[in-house]
Symmetry: C2
């Protein structure tokens, strides 16, 4: 392992110990109730078989409920822009959901999405390289997308289900250093979604600098409250699971 | 639905009826035992968290066993070429596993992979558009990749788990018309992998024109025999499940 990697590991171990020592103590992160939760919720529809009519339903739903945004696969971005215009911010995914595309392709995919009108880019970092401690390559890829799309809301997806705590910490450090706006727990396509524990760890590393986006397997208002208390500042929910979740949410927000 | 789509549906219904009438009758496709099964087996390592050392192990294994090829995520193609040279054909995936990237990005990803030395491209077709009967868009995307990479072995992944029989038939027709070399059942990332029934249906549409590649969830020699008898001419197996499968296979081939 080279010196830079050693330094990342050293700093990550310190942060992990600090986080472990403070467990059970409030993160100091308050759940805001002075605005509708809808304003921090993004609805995603990312299934391989999402049909055009489902995409249209998502657009209609998002506009009616004043949601923070929607997330669709890249092939649907232009369609959603035609439907929604500027009414609801449209986001898409980059290198999704495996994160193992070539960096040049992630950059090209991000540039094209922004050209088509996407305002936020949820990009999966290269998980295999992170786990192999190739931090420099992971960082350079994040920075390349950041440079290519300076005005987009850049969210780095970690896929916490596949990572050890030290790897989650280092991924947060790399995302911040690369200039990301937010770090997201999960793609929703792995073995597990967001947990309060992972969210709390991510928040402890990032302080108030970046948004922590909880995503994956969020299906009821209790889990939403738990994730917000742990430090999540944004939530991404799958459109298929919306009916109950949204009702629960609205009830909670009242 | 426009006239072209109606014609596709009409032809697909006829093919489905013919296939249903001939069920139980041999497809006339014989399982060849005059050559090692290794020559029709490709080993894949496509997990998001595949590490560099696992990729290296895959390369070593493929060379030792004389396999037909390996499949890795795009970010690993150059690495595998450095390790294997021309010893084992290296394949990669395009628009994987959701198939919902923008067509321009699928083309760019395919071109870059070929430039890096990939000899086969397993490309996921746009499942959502197929299910919405946008056959023209599905076809044009396949053809664009075919034109961009005329010398590559182009395999179209259908993700049969998400498709109705008529959709499987039409996907096979579109793949053949676009000039693909093979049609594959599954990504291995959906709810189900290859079944003898789907393989038999694909073979009945394609005749001897294209290879039918069975993939996803293949973990024992019994299922391999069943898929070959149903009409599969190539097999793709996940590297993680190799140990037992390969032993079983070698036993079967003896």
């Amino acid at each position: 392992m080279n010196l830079v990697n050693k330094e990342y590991h050293r700093r990550a171990r310190v942060l992990l110990e600090n986080w472990q020592d403070s467990r059970g103590v409030s993160t100091g992160f308050e759940v805001s109730t002075d605005k509708s939760l809808a304003t921090i919720i993004e609805l995603n529809l990312l299934g391989a078989d999402a049909s055009i009519s489902e995409v249209n339903k998502l657009c209609k739903f998002a506009r009616e409920h004043g949601l923070a945004g929607i997330g669709v696969n890249p092939v649907h971005v232009e369609r959603c822009i035609q439907t929604l215009g500027d009414d609801v911010p449209i986001g898409t995914v980059i290198g999704f959901p495996l994160g193992a595309n070539h960096p040049q392709i992630k950059v090209a995919e991000a540039e094209l999405a922004v050209k088509h009108g996407a305002r936020s880019l949820s990009m999966v970092l290269n998980i295999g390289l992170l786990k192999t401690s190739n931090f420099q390559e992971v960082f350079e890829e994040l920075r390349a997308v950041r440079y290519a799309c300076p005005d987009a809301d850049l969210i780095v997806i970690l896929e916490t289900a596949l990572l050890e705590p030290l790897q989650i910490i280092i991924a947060c450090m790399l995302s911040r250093e690369a200039g990301a706006d937010a770090v997201m727990t999960s793609t929703g396509f792995s073995s597990m979604g967001a947990t309060p524990e992972d969210v709390s760890l991510m928040r402890s590393v990032l302080g108030d600098d970046l948004d922590v986006v909880a995503s994956g397997g969020i299906t009821d208002s209790d889990s939403i409250v738990g994730l917000l208390k742990a430090g999540a500042s944004r939530l991404t929910i799958g459109f298929s699971s919306t009916d109950d979740t949204l009702s629960g949410l609205i009830k909670y927000a009242d």
